[in-house]
Protein backbone atom coordinates (compact mmCIF):
# COMPACT_ATOMS: atom_id res chain seq x y z
CA UNK A 1 0.00 0.00 0.00
CA UNK A 2 1.49 3.30 -1.04
CA UNK A 3 0.75 6.47 0.86
CA UNK A 4 -1.29 9.26 -0.65
CA UNK A 5 0.80 11.97 -2.28
CA UNK A 6 -0.34 15.00 -4.25
CA UNK A 7 -0.91 14.28 -7.93
CA UNK A 8 2.11 14.89 -10.11
CA UNK A 9 1.62 17.00 -13.23
CA UNK A 10 0.02 14.86 -15.87
CA UNK A 11 -1.21 12.30 -13.37
CA UNK A 12 -4.79 11.13 -13.81
CA UNK A 13 -7.28 12.52 -11.34
CA UNK A 14 -9.67 9.75 -10.35
CA UNK A 15 -12.58 9.53 -7.96
CA UNK A 16 -12.26 7.24 -5.00
CA UNK A 17 -14.90 5.23 -3.20
CA UNK A 18 -15.22 5.13 0.55
CA UNK A 19 -14.36 1.81 2.11
CA UNK A 20 -17.19 0.23 4.08
CA UNK A 21 -16.50 -0.59 7.70
CA UNK A 22 -18.73 -2.56 10.02
CA UNK A 23 -21.50 -3.05 7.46
CA UNK A 24 -20.83 -6.26 5.58
CA UNK A 25 -20.76 -9.68 7.24
CA UNK A 26 -17.34 -11.03 8.16
CA UNK A 27 -16.44 -13.76 5.67
CA UNK A 28 -15.41 -15.92 8.59
CA UNK A 29 -18.87 -16.52 10.11
CA UNK A 30 -18.74 -20.09 11.45
CA UNK A 31 -22.43 -20.20 12.35
CA UNK A 32 -22.96 -20.30 8.59
CA UNK A 33 -21.45 -23.70 7.96
CA UNK A 34 -20.84 -23.26 4.25
CA UNK A 35 -18.32 -20.56 5.12
CA UNK A 36 -16.07 -22.95 7.03
CA UNK A 37 -14.09 -24.23 4.06
CA UNK A 38 -14.71 -21.30 1.76
CA UNK A 39 -14.03 -18.10 3.67
CA UNK A 40 -10.41 -16.96 3.16
CA UNK A 41 -8.38 -17.10 6.37
CA UNK A 42 -5.90 -14.37 5.54
CA UNK A 43 -6.82 -10.71 5.81
CA UNK A 44 -7.39 -9.03 2.45
CA UNK A 45 -4.64 -6.82 1.07
CA UNK A 46 -5.62 -3.16 0.89
CA UNK A 47 -5.70 -2.15 -2.77
CA UNK A 48 -5.37 1.47 -3.71
CA UNK A 49 -8.22 2.18 -6.12
CA UNK A 50 -7.04 2.77 -9.68
CA UNK A 51 -8.67 2.92 -13.07
CA UNK A 52 -9.84 -0.69 -13.00
CA UNK A 53 -11.60 -0.20 -9.67
CA UNK A 54 -13.24 3.20 -10.22
CA UNK A 55 -14.61 2.18 -13.60
CA UNK A 56 -16.96 -0.72 -14.23
CA UNK A 57 -19.28 -2.26 -16.78
CA UNK A 58 -22.10 0.08 -17.80
CA UNK A 59 -24.25 -2.54 -19.43
CA UNK A 60 -27.55 -4.26 -19.28
CA UNK A 61 -29.94 -2.09 -21.27
CA UNK A 62 -29.31 -4.16 -24.39
CA UNK A 63 -30.14 -7.40 -22.57
CA UNK A 64 -33.27 -6.36 -20.64
CA UNK A 65 -36.83 -5.95 -21.84
CA UNK A 66 -39.71 -4.45 -19.90
CA UNK A 67 -41.23 -7.92 -19.54
CA UNK A 68 -38.20 -9.11 -17.55
CA UNK A 69 -39.39 -7.10 -14.52
CA UNK A 70 -42.64 -9.09 -14.22
CA UNK A 71 -41.81 -12.52 -12.78
CA UNK A 72 -45.49 -13.49 -12.82
CA UNK A 73 -45.77 -13.25 -16.61
CA UNK A 74 -42.95 -15.57 -17.64
CA UNK A 75 -44.92 -18.83 -17.78
CA UNK A 76 -48.06 -19.95 -19.55
CA UNK A 77 -50.30 -18.91 -16.67
CA UNK A 78 -50.38 -17.15 -13.32
CA UNK A 79 -48.05 -18.51 -10.66
CA UNK A 80 -49.50 -19.56 -7.32
CA UNK A 81 -48.83 -17.21 -4.43
CA UNK A 82 -49.26 -13.76 -3.01
CA UNK A 83 -48.68 -11.23 -5.81
CA UNK A 84 -46.37 -8.42 -4.72
CA UNK A 85 -44.80 -5.26 -6.10
CA UNK A 86 -41.16 -4.65 -5.07
CA UNK A 87 -39.97 -1.14 -5.73
CA UNK A 88 -37.43 1.36 -4.50
CA UNK A 89 -34.35 3.32 -5.45
CA UNK A 90 -30.70 2.55 -5.84
CA UNK A 91 -28.65 5.32 -4.22
CA UNK A 92 -25.04 5.83 -3.27
CA UNK A 93 -23.99 6.72 0.25
CA UNK A 94 -23.81 10.36 -0.81
CA UNK A 95 -27.55 10.22 -1.46
CA UNK A 96 -27.17 10.37 -5.23
CA UNK A 97 -29.39 8.11 -7.31
CA UNK A 98 -27.67 5.40 -9.37
CA UNK A 99 -29.38 5.59 -12.77
CA UNK A 100 -29.33 3.14 -15.67
CA UNK A 101 -27.84 0.26 -13.71
CA UNK A 102 -28.74 -3.39 -14.09
CA UNK A 103 -30.55 -5.17 -11.25
CA UNK A 104 -30.91 -8.96 -11.38
CA UNK A 105 -33.08 -10.87 -8.90
CA UNK A 106 -33.85 -14.51 -8.20
CA UNK A 107 -35.99 -16.25 -5.60
CA UNK A 108 -37.89 -19.35 -4.51
CA UNK A 109 -41.54 -19.84 -5.41
CA UNK A 110 -44.45 -19.38 -3.01
CA UNK A 111 -43.90 -22.87 -1.60
CA UNK A 112 -40.24 -22.21 -0.82
CA UNK A 113 -38.86 -24.23 -3.74
CA UNK A 114 -36.29 -22.98 -6.24
CA UNK A 115 -36.61 -23.90 -9.91
CA UNK A 116 -33.15 -25.46 -9.76
CA UNK A 117 -32.15 -29.10 -10.12
CA UNK A 118 -30.27 -29.30 -6.84
CA UNK A 119 -33.11 -27.98 -4.68
CA UNK A 120 -34.47 -31.15 -3.04
CA UNK A 121 -36.94 -29.49 -0.68
CA UNK A 122 -40.15 -31.52 -0.64
CA UNK A 123 -42.38 -28.69 -1.87
CA UNK A 124 -44.02 -28.28 -5.27
CA UNK A 125 -42.46 -26.62 -8.24
CA UNK A 126 -44.67 -24.11 -10.02
CA UNK A 127 -44.66 -24.51 -13.80
CA UNK A 128 -45.61 -20.85 -14.10
CA UNK A 129 -42.78 -19.50 -11.99
CA UNK A 130 -39.08 -19.52 -12.87
CA UNK A 131 -38.03 -17.04 -10.23
CA UNK A 132 -35.62 -14.80 -12.17
CA UNK A 133 -36.09 -11.16 -13.15
CA UNK A 134 -34.11 -8.12 -14.17
CA UNK A 135 -34.52 -4.47 -14.89
CA UNK A 136 -32.60 -1.25 -15.35
CA UNK A 137 -32.97 1.61 -12.89
CA UNK A 138 -34.48 4.76 -14.38
CA UNK A 139 -32.90 8.21 -14.40
CA UNK A 140 -33.75 8.63 -10.70
CA UNK A 141 -32.42 5.22 -9.69
CA UNK A 142 -35.88 3.67 -9.41
CA UNK A 143 -36.68 0.03 -10.01
CA UNK A 144 -39.92 -1.94 -9.89
CA UNK A 145 -40.57 -5.68 -10.01
CA UNK A 146 -43.81 -7.65 -9.95
CA UNK A 147 -43.44 -11.10 -8.45
CA UNK A 148 -44.92 -13.43 -5.87
CA UNK A 149 -43.87 -13.56 -2.25
CA UNK A 150 -41.30 -16.35 -1.85
CA UNK A 151 -41.85 -19.00 0.79
CA UNK A 152 -39.51 -19.90 3.63
CA UNK A 153 -37.59 -23.13 3.15
CA UNK A 154 -35.58 -25.59 5.22
CA UNK A 155 -31.86 -26.09 4.77
CA UNK A 156 -29.31 -28.25 6.48
CA UNK A 157 -27.14 -25.67 8.19
CA UNK A 158 -28.26 -26.79 11.65
CA UNK A 159 -31.12 -28.82 13.10
CA UNK A 160 -34.49 -27.42 12.03
CA UNK A 161 -32.87 -24.58 10.09
CA UNK A 162 -35.19 -22.45 7.92
CA UNK A 163 -34.31 -19.51 5.72
CA UNK A 164 -36.55 -16.47 6.15
CA UNK A 165 -38.35 -15.54 2.92
CA UNK A 166 -35.98 -13.52 0.76
CA UNK A 167 -35.26 -12.28 -2.74
CA UNK A 168 -31.65 -12.22 -4.02
CA UNK A 169 -30.62 -8.87 -5.51
CA UNK A 170 -27.53 -8.29 -7.69
CA UNK A 171 -26.38 -4.74 -8.43
CA UNK A 172 -23.55 -3.29 -10.49
CA UNK A 173 -23.65 0.42 -9.69
CA UNK A 174 -21.30 2.48 -11.86
CA UNK A 175 -17.92 1.18 -10.66
CA UNK A 176 -16.25 -2.13 -9.83
CA UNK A 177 -16.03 -0.96 -6.21
CA UNK A 178 -19.83 -0.65 -6.01
CA UNK A 179 -20.72 -4.20 -7.02
CA UNK A 180 -23.13 -5.72 -4.49
CA UNK A 181 -25.11 -8.93 -4.18
CA UNK A 182 -27.47 -9.15 -1.23
CA UNK A 183 -30.84 -10.46 -0.09
CA UNK A 184 -34.06 -8.55 0.58
CA UNK A 185 -36.20 -9.78 3.45
CA UNK A 186 -39.81 -9.19 4.48
CA UNK A 187 -40.84 -7.31 7.61
CA UNK A 188 -41.64 -9.16 10.80
CA UNK A 189 -40.34 -12.55 9.69
CA UNK A 190 -40.29 -14.87 12.73
CA UNK A 191 -37.35 -16.78 11.23
CA UNK A 192 -34.81 -13.95 11.54
CA UNK A 193 -33.70 -14.92 15.04
CA UNK A 194 -32.44 -18.37 14.00
CA UNK A 195 -30.96 -17.47 10.61
CA UNK A 196 -27.14 -17.32 10.54
CA UNK A 197 -27.10 -15.61 7.13
CA UNK A 198 -29.30 -12.68 8.18
CA UNK A 199 -27.47 -12.48 11.52
CA UNK A 200 -24.03 -12.58 9.88
CA UNK A 201 -24.38 -8.81 9.57
CA UNK A 202 -22.96 -7.67 12.90
CA UNK A 203 -24.90 -4.43 13.39
CA UNK A 204 -28.63 -4.96 14.11
CA UNK A 205 -29.46 -1.64 12.45
CA UNK A 206 -27.61 -2.74 9.33
CA UNK A 207 -29.61 -5.99 9.31
CA UNK A 208 -32.81 -3.98 9.27
CA UNK A 209 -31.61 -2.23 6.13
CA UNK A 210 -32.06 -5.56 4.33
CA UNK A 211 -35.76 -5.65 5.27
CA UNK A 212 -38.31 -4.12 2.91
CA UNK A 213 -41.13 -1.95 4.23
CA UNK A 214 -44.77 -2.79 3.54
CA UNK A 215 -46.36 0.22 1.84
CA UNK A 216 -50.10 0.62 1.44
CA UNK A 217 -49.47 3.42 -1.04
CA UNK A 218 -47.63 1.03 -3.37
CA UNK A 219 -50.21 -1.69 -2.78
CA UNK A 220 -52.71 -1.85 -5.62
CA UNK A 221 -56.35 -2.48 -4.60
CA UNK A 222 -57.74 -5.87 -5.55
CA UNK A 223 -54.40 -6.83 -7.12
CA UNK A 224 -51.02 -6.83 -5.29
CA UNK A 225 -49.32 -5.94 -2.00
CA UNK A 226 -46.59 -3.32 -2.21
CA UNK A 227 -43.13 -3.35 -0.63
CA UNK A 228 -40.58 -0.57 -0.71
CA UNK A 229 -36.83 -1.15 -0.42
CA UNK A 230 -33.99 1.24 -1.15
CA UNK A 231 -30.49 -0.09 -1.78
CA UNK A 232 -27.43 2.00 -0.89
CA UNK A 233 -24.12 1.38 -2.64
CA UNK A 234 -20.71 2.83 -1.76
CA UNK A 235 -20.37 6.50 -2.57
CA UNK A 236 -17.45 8.62 -3.59
CA UNK A 237 -15.11 10.31 -1.22
CA UNK A 238 -15.43 14.08 -1.33
CA UNK A 239 -12.29 14.65 -3.38
CA UNK A 240 -9.81 12.52 -5.20
CA UNK A 241 -7.16 13.59 -2.71
CA UNK A 242 -8.98 12.78 0.48
CA UNK A 243 -6.62 10.56 2.45
CA UNK A 244 -8.09 7.18 3.28
CA UNK A 245 -7.31 7.69 6.95
CA UNK A 246 -9.67 10.66 6.90
CA UNK A 247 -12.53 8.83 5.26
CA UNK A 248 -15.73 8.51 7.13
CA UNK A 249 -16.03 5.16 8.84
CA UNK A 250 -19.38 3.61 9.44
Amino acid sequence: MTTDVPAAPGELILPSYRRPAGVHPPLDSPAYRSSLLRAPKRPPVLLRQGLTEVTGPLLGAERVTAADADLTARGGGEPIGERIILTGRVLDSGGRPVPDTLIEIWQANAAGRYAHGIDDHDAPLDPNFGGAGRCMTDSEGRYRFITIKPGAYPWKNHRNAWRPAHVHFSLFGRAFTQRLITQMYFPGDPLFAQDPVYNSVPDPRARERMVARFDLGITQPEWALGYQWDIVLRGRAATAFEPEEGEERR
Binding site: V5, A7, A8, E11, L12, I13, L14, P15, V23, H24, P25, L27, Y32, S34, L36, L37, R38, P40, K41, P44, V45, L47, R48, Q49, G50, L51, T52, E53, T55, G56, P57, L58, L59, L91, D92, S93, G94, G95, E104, I105, W106, H116, G131, A132, H168, S170, F176, T177, R179, I181, T182, V197, S200, V201, R209, M210, V232, R234, E248, R250
Partner: protein, 196 residues
Protein backbone atom coordinates in the same frame (compact mmCIF):
# COMPACT_ATOMS: atom_id res chain seq x y z
CA UNK B 1 -25.89 13.73 3.17
CA UNK B 2 -24.64 10.33 4.14
CA UNK B 3 -26.68 7.16 3.86
CA UNK B 4 -25.65 3.91 5.53
CA UNK B 5 -24.85 1.08 3.13
CA UNK B 6 -26.92 -1.99 2.36
CA UNK B 7 -25.05 -5.06 3.67
CA UNK B 8 -23.89 -7.89 1.44
CA UNK B 9 -25.33 -11.42 1.65
CA UNK B 10 -24.31 -14.69 0.06
CA UNK B 11 -25.50 -15.63 -3.43
CA UNK B 12 -26.43 -19.02 -1.99
CA UNK B 13 -26.52 -22.29 -3.92
CA UNK B 14 -29.08 -21.24 -6.52
CA UNK B 15 -27.34 -18.31 -8.19
CA UNK B 16 -27.62 -20.15 -11.51
CA UNK B 17 -31.30 -19.17 -11.63
CA UNK B 18 -30.53 -15.49 -11.85
CA UNK B 19 -26.98 -14.66 -12.82
CA UNK B 20 -25.42 -16.62 -15.71
CA UNK B 21 -25.70 -15.19 -19.21
CA UNK B 22 -25.32 -17.38 -22.29
CA UNK B 23 -22.69 -14.94 -23.60
CA UNK B 24 -21.23 -14.24 -20.14
CA UNK B 25 -17.81 -15.86 -20.65
CA UNK B 26 -17.31 -14.05 -23.94
CA UNK B 27 -15.74 -10.67 -23.27
CA UNK B 28 -15.16 -10.85 -27.01
CA UNK B 29 -16.87 -13.28 -29.39
CA UNK B 30 -15.14 -16.63 -29.77
CA UNK B 31 -12.73 -16.58 -32.68
CA UNK B 32 -11.86 -12.88 -32.32
CA UNK B 33 -8.29 -12.35 -33.56
CA UNK B 34 -5.91 -12.02 -30.64
CA UNK B 35 -8.36 -13.50 -28.15
CA UNK B 36 -6.99 -15.28 -25.09
CA UNK B 37 -8.69 -17.89 -22.94
CA UNK B 38 -8.37 -17.96 -19.18
CA UNK B 39 -9.62 -21.11 -17.49
CA UNK B 40 -9.27 -22.21 -13.94
CA UNK B 41 -10.86 -23.85 -10.98
CA UNK B 42 -12.26 -22.48 -7.76
CA UNK B 43 -11.16 -24.67 -4.84
CA UNK B 44 -12.11 -24.70 -1.18
CA UNK B 45 -9.93 -25.17 1.89
CA UNK B 46 -9.98 -28.95 1.48
CA UNK B 47 -8.86 -28.66 -2.15
CA UNK B 48 -12.32 -29.66 -3.35
CA UNK B 49 -13.91 -27.91 -6.32
CA UNK B 50 -16.52 -25.23 -5.68
CA UNK B 51 -19.27 -26.06 -8.17
CA UNK B 52 -21.60 -23.20 -7.25
CA UNK B 53 -19.41 -20.14 -7.65
CA UNK B 54 -19.61 -17.27 -10.13
CA UNK B 55 -16.54 -15.52 -11.52
CA UNK B 56 -16.74 -12.00 -12.89
CA UNK B 57 -13.89 -10.15 -14.61
CA UNK B 58 -13.42 -6.48 -15.46
CA UNK B 59 -10.46 -5.14 -17.37
CA UNK B 60 -9.02 -2.51 -19.69
CA UNK B 61 -8.96 -2.87 -23.45
CA UNK B 62 -5.64 -3.81 -25.13
CA UNK B 63 -4.70 -0.11 -25.28
CA UNK B 64 -5.29 0.28 -21.53
CA UNK B 65 -8.50 2.27 -21.88
CA UNK B 66 -11.95 1.95 -20.35
CA UNK B 67 -15.30 2.97 -21.80
CA UNK B 68 -16.34 4.86 -18.70
CA UNK B 69 -16.82 8.52 -17.83
CA UNK B 70 -14.27 8.26 -15.02
CA UNK B 71 -11.46 7.31 -17.36
CA UNK B 72 -10.52 10.85 -18.43
CA UNK B 73 -8.54 9.55 -21.42
CA UNK B 74 -11.68 8.29 -23.16
CA UNK B 75 -12.42 4.88 -24.69
CA UNK B 76 -10.00 3.42 -27.20
CA UNK B 77 -10.70 1.69 -30.47
CA UNK B 78 -11.69 -1.69 -29.05
CA UNK B 79 -14.74 -0.20 -27.33
CA UNK B 80 -16.15 1.49 -30.41
CA UNK B 81 -19.39 0.15 -31.89
CA UNK B 82 -18.59 -2.22 -34.71
CA UNK B 83 -15.04 -2.82 -33.48
CA UNK B 84 -15.68 -6.45 -32.56
CA UNK B 85 -17.82 -6.31 -29.46
CA UNK B 86 -15.24 -6.00 -26.67
CA UNK B 87 -17.23 -5.68 -23.43
CA UNK B 88 -14.51 -5.53 -20.78
CA UNK B 89 -16.73 -7.62 -18.52
CA UNK B 90 -16.90 -11.40 -18.26
CA UNK B 91 -19.07 -13.66 -16.14
CA UNK B 92 -18.97 -17.43 -15.80
CA UNK B 93 -20.50 -19.85 -13.29
CA UNK B 94 -18.31 -22.76 -12.22
CA UNK B 95 -19.17 -26.29 -13.33
CA UNK B 96 -19.16 -29.54 -11.34
CA UNK B 97 -15.34 -29.50 -11.36
CA UNK B 98 -15.24 -25.93 -10.11
CA UNK B 99 -14.08 -24.80 -13.54
CA UNK B 100 -14.73 -21.48 -15.26
CA UNK B 101 -13.66 -20.01 -18.59
CA UNK B 102 -13.30 -16.44 -19.88
CA UNK B 103 -12.54 -15.51 -23.50
CA UNK B 104 -11.14 -12.01 -23.80
CA UNK B 105 -8.44 -9.75 -25.21
CA UNK B 106 -5.19 -9.06 -23.40
CA UNK B 107 -5.65 -5.99 -21.21
CA UNK B 108 -3.18 -3.14 -21.67
CA UNK B 109 -0.97 -1.53 -19.04
CA UNK B 110 -2.47 1.35 -17.06
CA UNK B 111 -1.31 4.53 -15.41
CA UNK B 112 -1.41 3.64 -11.73
CA UNK B 113 -2.93 5.69 -8.95
CA UNK B 114 -0.25 7.99 -7.56
CA UNK B 115 2.03 7.56 -10.56
CA UNK B 116 3.80 4.53 -11.92
CA UNK B 117 2.33 1.96 -14.26
CA UNK B 118 0.17 -1.01 -13.43
CA UNK B 119 0.91 -4.17 -15.37
CA UNK B 120 -1.90 -5.62 -17.49
CA UNK B 121 -4.45 -7.27 -15.20
CA UNK B 122 -8.06 -8.31 -14.82
CA UNK B 123 -10.00 -7.54 -11.64
CA UNK B 124 -11.94 -10.60 -10.48
CA UNK B 125 -14.96 -10.95 -8.22
CA UNK B 126 -15.76 -14.38 -6.80
CA UNK B 127 -19.25 -15.09 -5.49
CA UNK B 128 -20.31 -18.42 -3.99
CA UNK B 129 -22.43 -20.16 -1.45
CA UNK B 130 -20.42 -19.84 1.74
CA UNK B 131 -19.10 -16.38 0.84
CA UNK B 132 -21.15 -13.76 2.64
CA UNK B 133 -19.51 -11.05 0.54
CA UNK B 134 -17.66 -11.26 -2.75
CA UNK B 135 -13.91 -11.75 -2.63
CA UNK B 136 -11.77 -9.79 -5.10
CA UNK B 137 -8.50 -10.79 -6.69
CA UNK B 138 -6.49 -9.90 -9.80
CA UNK B 139 -5.24 -11.96 -12.70
CA UNK B 140 -1.80 -10.98 -14.05
CA UNK B 141 -0.34 -12.61 -17.14
CA UNK B 142 2.85 -14.65 -16.75
CA UNK B 143 4.56 -13.46 -19.93
CA UNK B 144 4.44 -9.77 -18.98
CA UNK B 145 7.77 -10.08 -17.19
CA UNK B 146 8.90 -6.46 -17.39
CA UNK B 147 5.52 -4.94 -16.59
CA UNK B 148 4.88 -7.36 -13.73
CA UNK B 149 8.29 -6.60 -12.20
CA UNK B 150 7.37 -2.89 -12.09
CA UNK B 151 3.78 -3.33 -10.90
CA UNK B 152 3.19 -1.53 -7.59
CA UNK B 153 0.45 -3.94 -6.45
CA UNK B 154 2.52 -7.06 -7.02
CA UNK B 155 5.57 -5.39 -5.50
CA UNK B 156 3.70 -4.71 -2.27
CA UNK B 157 2.89 -8.38 -1.74
CA UNK B 158 5.43 -10.43 0.05
CA UNK B 159 6.59 -13.09 0.13
CA UNK B 160 6.99 -14.23 -3.44
CA UNK B 161 4.91 -17.35 -2.98
CA UNK B 162 1.81 -15.29 -2.23
CA UNK B 163 2.52 -13.03 -5.20
CA UNK B 164 2.50 -16.12 -7.40
CA UNK B 165 -1.16 -16.71 -6.61
CA UNK B 166 -1.97 -13.60 -8.70
CA UNK B 167 -0.14 -14.84 -11.78
CA UNK B 168 -1.90 -16.96 -14.36
CA UNK B 169 0.19 -19.79 -15.79
CA UNK B 170 0.52 -20.83 -19.40
CA UNK B 171 -1.82 -23.75 -20.09
CA UNK B 172 0.56 -26.61 -20.91
CA UNK B 173 0.50 -27.55 -24.57
CA UNK B 174 -2.32 -25.15 -25.40
CA UNK B 175 -0.38 -22.44 -27.20
CA UNK B 176 0.44 -18.86 -26.31
CA UNK B 177 -3.16 -17.68 -25.93
CA UNK B 178 -4.31 -20.08 -23.22
CA UNK B 179 -3.83 -19.39 -19.53
CA UNK B 180 -4.86 -21.05 -16.31
CA UNK B 181 -5.75 -19.20 -13.12
CA UNK B 182 -6.92 -21.26 -10.17
CA UNK B 183 -8.54 -19.56 -7.18
CA UNK B 184 -7.92 -21.12 -3.79
CA UNK B 185 -10.33 -19.69 -1.27
CA UNK B 186 -8.47 -21.14 1.67
CA UNK B 187 -5.43 -23.17 2.63
CA UNK B 188 -1.68 -23.13 2.26
CA UNK B 189 -1.75 -21.58 -1.18
CA UNK B 190 -4.68 -19.29 -0.51
CA UNK B 191 -5.08 -16.74 -3.30
CA UNK B 192 -4.33 -13.14 -2.42
CA UNK B 193 -7.62 -11.27 -2.07
CA UNK B 194 -7.94 -7.51 -2.02
CA UNK B 195 -9.90 -4.98 -0.04
CA UNK B 196 -10.94 -2.61 -2.82
Amino acid sequence: MSLPLTPSQTVGPFLAIGLPWPDGPFVVPEGTPGAITITGRVLDGAGEPVPDALIETWQAAPDGSFAHPDDPRGPGAAWQPGAGGFRGFGRCPTDQDGRYRIITLRPGALPGPGGGTEAPHLDVSVFARGLLDRVVTRIYLPDEHVANAADPVLAAIAPDDRRATLLAVAEPGAGPAAFRFDIRLQGGRETVFFDV
